[in-house]
């Protein structure tokens, strides 16, 4: 058996064990959340007895994202974690009631794990960070701030309300949306020019682009601000954009790594840059805490073949949250395991084609 096959096999065993442990936690009367304990009453199987590996999660009906809308939010808190300070993070919410996720420490754990994947050369420990992305009821701001602190730095942030930008765009107020973006970039420039020793940053692709353009207009560059490493995510990140970034926007001295994630899953890492990949971006979920499958459009329990296109199906299995198969609003191609991440990955993530026509994407 090859070394990679060994790693894959080991990761699979770990995932199976983690799955069983997570299901036991969420469905046990003494530790489970009110939501899952109630839900289990409607099942024709006993999760405590009949989930013995990851594949057994297919016994659960598909998770409906509508369940995440509205309260009481406390129904999601496992009894085993009762009494701990809790956060609520939201996703969507341009119109109507947003989807919410209760979090206690997951965002810290996710980003601590992510920290281990960052190269110290470009994300020097002890240096300060700039967080240029959505704030408000989203976990990103607090998560990035924790990442900075975890690595011994301080995080500088700006305000950004993506729901307002979506409203402007839906009303065709392009100029106002551009003005708002300029307002955000103004704040970033001010922070970067204030001698705060910022060397690392999180930015959404659109804001990174806007910041880099502004700096070019001013005769400067991202590199000249002192930033060495950027992790970017939050909106679509295409291979061409990645290439333009590396070849033209950032230059050779600034490292950029794509990420894919959301409030429910945490953060999937990009496969390390390899010229042989020709800028193909492949993401790997933070297994075993979260799993991404690429599944058939016609059968969400059937994984597609390697290299084939399917919809993104997400599993979250932490002590705080259990989601046995959530259909994401994205699609992509299934990718082979990698030495650093010995489980399936996904490339070419983009809005699910059935939603793409009606969704306003990439607003911040």
């Amino acid at each position: 058996m090859s070394q990679l096959a060994d790693l894959v096999s080991s990761a699979k065993s770990q995932l199976d064990a983690h799955t069983v442990e997570t299901v036991q936690w969420h469905f046990h009367e003494s530790t489970g959340s009110p939501f899952w304990l109630e839900k289990a009453k409607s099942y024709n199987f006993d999760p405590l007895k009949e989930v013995k590996c990851f594949d057994d999660l297919k016994k659960f009906p598909h998770f409906e994202d509508e369940w995440l809308r509205g309260g009481p939010i406390s129904r999601w808190i496992p009894k085993g974690l009762a009494g701990k300070p809790a956060y609520v993070f939201e996703t969507g919410g341009t119109t109507g009631v947003p989807k919410s996720r209760m979090v206690i420490e997951d965002h810290w754990i996710d980003y601590e794990n992510f920290s281990d994947t960052l190269p110290d050369e470009y994300f020097p420990r002890g240096s300060n960070w700039l967080m240029l992305g959505p704030s408000g009821p989203r976990r990103l701001r607090l998560a990035v701030e924790h990442l900075a602190q975890y690595r011994g730095g301080i995080c500088f942030c700006v305000d950004l309300d993506p729901r307002w930008v979506v409203k402007l765009l839906k009303k065709g107020k392009i100029k106002e949306a551009e003005d708002y973006k300029d307002h955000v970039i103004d704040q970033a420039i001010t922070i970067l020019s204030a001698n705060h020793d910022i060397k690392c940053a999180f930015m959404t692709p659109k804001l990174l682009e806007a910041l880099a353009m502004r700096l070019l207009d001013d005769g400067s560059s991202i590199a000249e601000t002192g930033i060495k490493g950027i992790f970017a995510g939050g909106t679509e990140f295409t291979p061409q954009w990645y290439r333009t970034c590396r070849e033209e926007l950032l230059g050779p001295d600034v490292y950029i790594t794509p990420t894919y994630g959301n409030t429910l899953m945490g953060l999937a890492c990009g496969k390390p840059f390899d010229p042989a990949d020709n800028y193909k971006i492949t993401y790997y979920a933070p297994q075993p805490r979260a799993v991404i499958e690429t599944v058939e459009f016609s059968d969400y329990n059937q994984v597609v073949g390697y290299g084939k296109t399917g919809r993104v199906k997400l599993y979250t299995m932490t002590k705080e949250l259990f989601i046995p198969g959530f259909m994401e609003r994205d699609e992509g191609e299934r990718e082979m395991p990698h030495g650093k991440y010995p489980w399936d990955g996904i490339s070419g993530t983009r809005p699910f084609h059935e939603y793409a026509k009606t969704t306003t994407v990439g607003v911040y």
Binding site: G172, I174, E178, M213, L216, P239, Q240, W241, T244, L249
Partner: protein, 478 residues
């Protein structure tokens, strides 16, 4: 299959993502179009001055000669197209295959574009009102009457977000090149053929490659062109028009709502103008904003509608290669169906009657496996306020509207081309004063019979150059 790269200052750039372009009828992939990004466009626009510098190194008279040579090459030569090349006949075939426009109409539009290119000296002379060309290059100079004038370029490159509906629209931006303004083009996803072919003709004729950039791509590319070019033109629907209204950086081209108006003095002789009306509605498969979508008269409107319907109603689709093919296909799924439903709904209203139905031997909407057709439709409206009285669709569609002459100008709203058939001097003056009309024809001129020596939706010279004061000596004491 044609592999068509991005052109960045004339240099080919192969993108990571490529968009397949398919034959509207067979589904065969004809080309793959490389896809630019907004970031790429924005980065290049920071260096756009080099386009203008390259063009300014060539005298305008020489650029006009290049235009004339390019016109001939565009019309007659085999020219590169991505990784292949196309003769004029092949060009019409592939253009038809992706746009749904019949091949003979593609050829007509080629001739239209070539005409403007080939007569660029006359066009520029007319649009600049006889200005010595070196004033545009130098920025100032004296007119023949000895008056100092100054024209300052408002932008080094002219940005454009081009449409798919009709290849004739490219005539509008061609004068930019001899005025030494570079081009930053986002071509249509189906009708990218003409911008590429004209560009290749320009290059073959000796234009510096830095002068033209072509960025096929998605909405972010269009957005970058619109926000980062100091002057840009865009084509779109009424929403696009409303979005950019009043923005001095943007020349927006939307629906034309072009009309034919019959004055009370000639309306009793309406039959004399039937050919003019039919042609104005029907030419180019009714795809252009300069096609008539309204015929307004105070009386005889039912007879006019019926006569138009008799001529237009029986017209049915033919294969696009047929030299008599009269109708363009709708290649975007759902578009024809949506228009058809809107028309059907409008026809439910009081005062609205479809007149073509009885002459059509079939439904208005013809659905095919991969495309749809809408057959010509004539609507009679009893007044200007009923639904469909002031509507435009991208096929031969016309509303014949009954309206007293003294109410017409207050009711016609924005009108790109108005052909007024009247000898009534008072009415003619009112028409001349009507600011909602862009191009005014008084007399028997078909709405799509454009004279290229006239400005269209604003003068491109005024858009790309700013007249301003310039003095190099003190004025006379006063």
């Amino acid at each position: 299959m044609f592999d068509i790269p991005i052109l960045r200052f004339g240099q080919t750039y192969e993108s990571m993502e490529k968009q397949p372009v398919v034959h509207f009828d067979t589904g065969e992939t004809i080309a793959q179009l490389h896809q630019a990004t907004g970031a790429m466009v924005k980065l290049d626009l920071k260096k756009s001055q080099k386009s203008r510098d390259a063009l300014r190194s060539i005298p305008i008279r020489k650029l006009i000669e290049i235009c004339k040579s390019a016109a001939r090459m565009y019309l007659e030569d085999a020219l590169p197209c991505g990784n292949g090349s196309l003769t004029p006949e092949e060009f019409c075939r592939v253009q038809s295959a992706t746009t749904g426009l019949p091949e003979h109409m593609c050829a007509t539009n080629m001739r239209k574009n070539a005409f403007v290119l080939g007569h660029m000296d006359d066009v520029l002379d007319a649009l600049t009102r006889g200005l010595p060309f070196d004033i545009l290059s130098k920025g100032y100079g004296k007119e023949a009457r000895g008056v100092m004038v100054s024209y300052q370029a408002t932008t080094p490159v002219f940005g454009m977000v081009l449409p798919n509906n009709s290849p004739g629209v490219h005539t509008l931006w061609l004068p930019a090149i001899p005025m030494q303004i570079g081009l930053c083009i986002k071509p249509g996803s189906q009708e990218f053929w003409t911008p590429y072919r004209i560009t290749e003709a320009f290059f073959k004729a000796g234009l510096p490659r830095e002068a033209i950039s072509v960025y096929p791509g998605g909405h972010d590319v269009g957005g970058a062109v619109m926000t980062d070019c100091q002057r840009a033109m865009i084509f779109g629907g009424q929403t696009t028009v409303d979005q950019h209204a009043g923005n001095p950086r943007i020349s927006v081209h939307g629906p034309g709502f072009s009309k034919i108006i019959l004055g009370d003095d000639v309306v009793d002789r309406w039959e004399d103008y039937l050919d003019l009306m039919v042609d104005s509605v029907f030419a180019n498969s009714g795809r252009s904003c300069i096609n008539a979508s309204g015929v307004w008269a105070s009386r005889h409107t039912r007879e006019i509608a019926d006569a138009l319907a008799q001529r237009l109603g029986p017209i049915a689709p033919l294969p696009p290669s047929d030299p008599k093919s009269p109708l363009a296909a709708f290649t975007t799924p759902g578009v024809a169906e949506a228009m058809n439903a809107q028309i059907d709904e409008g026809c439910q209203a009081d005062g609205v009657t479809e007149v073509t139905a009885k002459y059509r031997n079939g439904d208005r909407l013809e659905k095919r496996e991969r495309c749809d057709y809408l057959r010509p439709t004539v609507i009679h409206c009893t007044g200007p306020d009923v639904p469909l009285a002031n509507t435009e669709y991208m096929f031969p569609f016309v509303s014949v509207v009954e309206c007293p002459q003294n109410k017409m100008l207050s009711q016609i709203k924005q009108t790109l081309v108005c052909t007024a058939l009247t000898d009534d001097s008072k009415f003619k003056q009112q028409l001349l004063d009507a600011t909602q009309i862009d191009r005014l024809n008084i007399g028997p001129v078909r709405t799509m019979q454009l004279n290229w020596l006239q400005p269209h939706e604003g003068n491109i010279v005024d858009f790309l150059f700013r007249a301003r004061a310039f003095q190099d000596t003190p004025p006379e004491a006063h």
